[in-house]
């Protein structure tokens, strides 16, 4: 039977119309309700990426982690066990479903060549190669081993890295490791603004 939003147990009302014409039908009427959409979903505990309250969220995805299913988010709700938000979420946290599943997400690496007026697709390997070469060339061209007073400084002032405040601690540590090892001094993140 076509699953409409809610259907009456046939015995309760429509079928009963005939009898109930005379008001004699005493069987308790029950409304049948919508299936709980998260009933069989996989529940993953995560943290909302937005503000620094760090509300615990439960991300419900289809599939029971079977191999042949790519998890698709069906609902995001607050984590009732999390002592700070206790299941509550703000309007941004409550709409994380649309942040995970969003048709505006960038799906492939793109490059804008000098002077060009639009994006071009580029393969990951080629993009990363070009970036690495540019970084090396820029670093080698402008690396400062000693400053005016002869102190060793070993810094590269022509490259800058910005970002990381909505990314994990581990990513930030890798940033500091990699960028400091290349001698970068221009390293900033949203903590500054």
């Amino acid at each position: 039977m076509e699953l409409s939003r809610r259907t009456f147990l046939k015995g309760a009302v429509i079928g009963g119309t005939g009898f109930s014409l005379l008001g004699f039908d005493l069987a308790p009427a029950h409304a049948q309700l919508k299936e709980l959409k998260i009933a069989r979903a996989t529940e993953t505990r995560s943290t909302c990426p937005y503000c620094a309250v760090s509300c615990g969220v439960l991300i419900y995805t289809i599939g029971d982690k079977a191999k042949n299913v790519t998890p698709q988010v069906i609902h995001v709700e607050g984590d009732p066990d999390h002592p700070i938000n206790r299941g509550t979420l703000c309007p941004k946290g409550a709409s994380l479903y649309q942040d995970i599943l969003n048709d505006r997400r960038l799906l492939k690496p793109q490059v804008r060549r000098p002077g060009s007026q639009q994006w071009e697709d580029i393969a990951w390997t080629q993009a990363l190669d070009e970036i690495a070469q540019r970084i090396k060339k820029t670093r080698d061209d402008t690396f400062i081993e000693k400053d005016a007073q002869g102190h060793t400084v070993n810094r590269c002032e022509s490259l800058a890295f910005i970002g990381g405040c909505t990314d994990t601690n581990e990513f930030n540590y890798l940033v500091v490791k990699t960028m400091r090892s290349m001698g970068l001094t221009f390293i900033e993140n949203q903590a500054r603004v």
Partner: protein
């Protein structure tokens, strides 16, 4: 935050100022409501606008943006005048009794002692304590001032080991008297003239806030909650210091329901700061070496403070362990390549001798010296300030790498509104836009504003060809390293020797990085006192185990203890809270050492008994001869209260700093009211010194600053909405439905004056650029009388740009708010002055 989110429920009174938690941290603001509901706590809100936080407040004051120091200075003045101070707390836990050295001058004329007009900097050698070693430490009033050496800024003298002090707080040069004298100028009348808050409204607020200390009652606690409303000024750091001094004066720091609580903005801004994603620190807030340091020993000598305290007192001075933390960091970064001989690879670190902060990146790029920019999840163009300058700068750069999940303004600066097709041809910047993974596609930890590190799990794979951010970074680095291995190049050593021993180098598992952050033993170590040994390669249980002889490696000493041999402490989910104070010891892990409320020793009187028995955090257990309690004591466990060790173990003095000596602050030991760079009125305290003297304006043609007579006389402040998140949720259809279009909040009176009705399209322009949006004519911002002159304030949310759902559909003007903001920064934190600049309003 000194305390935590849930701890706010223990407060008796909350002052929310320079922040709008109901809109920007709604789920955290529940705890202020919990305090109101369960403890009848009162909520005071002071803000340029009547925000949704003010809607639930018991007392609201509308203040002129940028005059918070005047207001707080007035509160300090009121507290001292009415003796609403925590006397014992002040005496024993702050440097109120310390005597300041001769030669220090209060800024009656707007300048402290030692200001050099040419370099716009202070010679801060006079901002120190009187040396009390020769005269038994009590009173020494005649020590000769150190001869001011001419010429080059000589390194600052160290703080005296034994400080002169006067427990009666009567000495004219003791910190308390100087404090009293400094804020005696901040009378209620002056507060009214500067901030626009009427005298009786200010007195009512001051009375309510300091009422917790009415006739010395130490039971009650008040908390101060703030956010970027305080930070984003050219005197932001000093504003927050005033609040800290006020809380020290009232004895609220370290207590459940007290403290100075900064509501950090982004989900992992605290973690990114702890891990030094900024130019001037290394992970764990270690200082970055300068060229003058020469070698590791000199660097450690400069950055390792020595204790400076009255003789009979004791100071843990925990930063004395800096060498252990630094060497452990270098061992973690460079592994075996860091040997005792090459000073643990000290020279691999770049040396910093000037300001490389946010506005400097764009300034240097504008001048052509920064060639390449990697932007991972940070929208530089939309952030600004003076976004047009950032766009001009990017046009000059060689290449830009943007790692994002949505199309953003920075990656498309080359076709931002106003750039014609043929102008695009002239822009030679190569832009790589790499699709990254969203929050639900990554595991790892994020540190919240209450310093809790919480592990999260990946729920869905990245869509399309998007890759995890750490994988992208690893792959770029490994390619660079590969190039250096094959072709060599300038000083390749740090790149080649960087430790990268992950099970899958191209896809570094974050669990392994987290373990690296916690740190491990590189040799068998035994703790002499407890005879506990940990084997080589085992995780260190805490930062007390870190050594400076290269036998331990630790990515961030603050995070030592987060992933121990007992497993991932950050993934713990035990919801028990036996004390009921919202400590939740076994939920996730908070730094340092899982301590939830910082400085909690100060929650007890000098004898070690809690001020308020109903909110017991930690206390001195005489029998066990140790500090015990519901929270990890932020103290030396076995330090008997009789030794009078100060609760602020990170300060050399061991006590709270009401007076910020020597290099603590660039613009003065005490906060002084200075007008924002673009201010409609003169500085009423010292007209000839209107602005913060050490703040430097930028010099490129794109940097313009307006005065009141340039035709800009409306004060503008920028803010965030609860429905949107920075420049991110303009891609989210649900949030766009809640707030579909940009708008500008302006008072009804100003709207009538300009003939503007609700929903009219209006144009707000500063001397730098313009912004177009709909008018939101509201009663929630009232006109103010500043020094007798009627002044208007307007507020503009920051959330729109030129790429987003509504923007792409052409339903708004696609202008960026931060084109308006001035390029001038706070001298200590380098945060741009996004709030309190001048604009003019006109109909489109």
């Amino acid at each position: 935050m000194t305390n935590g989110w849930i701890d706010i429920k223990n407060t008796d009174l909350a002052l929310v100022m320079g922040g709008n938690p109901a809109e920007n941290h709604p789920c955290g603001f529940k705890w202020v409501i919990e305090a109101k509901r369960n403890r009848n706590a009162k909520l005071i809100v002071v803000d340029p606008r009547f925000t949704r936080t003010a809607a639930t407040s018991d007392l609201f004051c509308q203040i002129r943006a940028g005059t918070d120091i005047a207001f707080l200075g007035g509160m300090i003045n009121y507290a001292i005048a009415n003796n609403r101070i925590a006397h014992d707390y002040l005496l024993n836990y702050t440097n109120a009794a310390f005597i300041v050295k001769e030669g220090f001058k209060l800024p009656e004329d707007g300048l402290y002692s030692g200001f050099d007009h040419a370099t716009q900097t202070y010679d801060r050698s006079t901002w120190t304590y009187e040396d009390g070693s020769d005269s038994g430490g009590v009173v020494a009033s005649h020590a000769a001032p150190a001869a001011a050496a001419p010429g080059a800024p000589k390194p600052l003298p160290p703080l005296p080991a034994k400080v002169a002090y006067d427990l009666t707080l009567q000495h004219p040069r003791c910190v308390f008297q100087l404090l009293k004298q400094q804020y005696s100028r901040y009378t209620p009348e002056m507060v009214e003239r500067v901030t626009g808050i009427s005298k009786d409204q200010f007195l009512k607020t001051a009375e309510l806030f300091t009422s917790i200390r009415k006739d010395g009652d130490m039971k009650k606690v008040a908390t101060i909650i703030y956010a970027v409303g305080w930070t984003q000024h050219s005197f932001g750091t000093q504003t927050i210091r005033t609040a800290a001094m006020l809380q020290l004066l009232l004895g609220n720091v370290g207590r459940a329901g007290g403290g100075v609580n900064a509501l950090r903005g982004h989900s992992n801004i605290q973690g990114a700061t702890d891990l030094a994603g900024v130019f001037d620190i290394l992970p764990g807030y270690l200082k970055v070496p300068t060229p003058a340091d020469g070698d590791l020993a000199a660097y450690l000598k400069r950055t390792t403070p020595t204790s400076s305290k009255p003789n009979p007192w004791d100071s843990y001075n925990y930063w004395s362990n800096t060498p252990k933390f630094t060497v452990s960091l270098l061992k973690s970064m460079y592994g075996d390549a860091a040997t005792k001989e090459n000073q643990w690879a000290f020279d691999y670190l770049p040396k910093v001798d000037r300001n490389y902060s946010w506005t400097q990146i764009w300034d240097n790029m504008y001048r052509g010296s920064v060639k390449g920019l990697l932007a991972f999840g940070m929208n530089g163009v939309a952030i600004g300030p003076d976004s047009q300058k950032n766009i001009e700068a990017l046009k000059k750069a060689d290449f830009l790498v943007v790692g994002e999940i949505y199309p953003d303004e920075t990656s498309e600066f080359w076709r931002s509104p106003g750039i014609t097709l043929d102008e695009m041809k002239t822009i030679q910047t190569t832009v790589y836009r790499l699709p990254c993974a969203g929050f639900a596609e990554k595991d790892g930890t994020m540190t919240n504003s209450a310093r809790w590190l919480q592990w999260k799990y990946a729920a869905v794979p990245p869509p399309g060809d998007a890759r995890l951010d750490q994988d992208i970074l690893a792959q770029i680095f490994l390619k660079v390293r590969g190039l250096y291995q094959t072709r060599g190049g300038k000083f390749p050593d740090p790149i080649l020797n960087l430790t990268w021993a992950y099970s899958d180098p191209q896809h570094p598992p974050l669990a392994e990085v987290a373990k690296e952050l916690n740190g491990k033993a590189l040799a068998d170590l035994t703790d002499p006192k407890t005879q506990v040994t940990i084997k080589k390669g085992q995780q260190v249980p805490g930062f007390a185990w870190l050594k400076d002889d290269g036998t331990t490696a630790c990515g961030n000493w603050l995070y030592a203890g987060s992933w121990t041999e007992a497993g991932n402490q950050m993934a713990r989910r035990d919801t028990s809270d036996p004390s009921g104070l919202g400590v939740y010891q076994n939920w996730a892990w908070s730094w340092p050492a899982n301590r939830r409320v910082m400085y909690n020793r100060a929650s007890c009187d000098p004898s070690g008994k809690p001020w308020d028995a109903s909110r017991k955090q930690v206390w001195w257990n005489e029998t066990a001869q140790s500090w015990v309690g519901n929270d990890v004591p932020d103290f030396k466990l076995d330090s008997n209260p009789k030794d009078h060790m100060g609760p602020f173990i990170m300060n050399p003095e061991g006590v709270g700093r009401i007076f910020g000596p020597l290099a603590a602050f660039a613009d003065g030991p005490f906060p002084e009211h200075y007008e924002p760079i673009e201010s409609p009125v003169a500085n009423l305290f010292h007209p000839n010194q209107p602005n913060n003297p050490v703040v430097k304006k930028m010099k490129t043609p794109a940097d313009k600053y307006a005065g009141p007579n340039d035709g800009y006389n409306v004060i503008c402040t920028t803010y965030r909405l609860t429905e949107h998140y920075h420049y991110w949720t303009k891609n989210n259809p649900m949030n766009v439905q809640l707030v579909p279009e940009p708008f500008i909040e302006l008072p009804v009176e100003l709207a009538q004056e300009l003939g503007i009705k609700g929903n009219d399209k209006i144009k707000v322009s500063s001397i730098r650029s313009y912004y177009i949006a709909k008018a939101f004519v509201t009663k929630r911002i009232k006109p103010m009388m500043i020094d007798g002159k009627k002044t208007y304030q307007i507020g503009i949310p920051i959330h729109q740009g030129y790429r987003g759902i509504q923007e792409d559909a052409g339903r708004d003007a696609r202008t960026i708010l931060n084109r308006l903001t001035p390029t001038v920064v706070d001298p200590n934190a380098y945060t741009p002055e996004f709030k309190g600049f001048l604009v003019k309003v006109e109909k489109v």
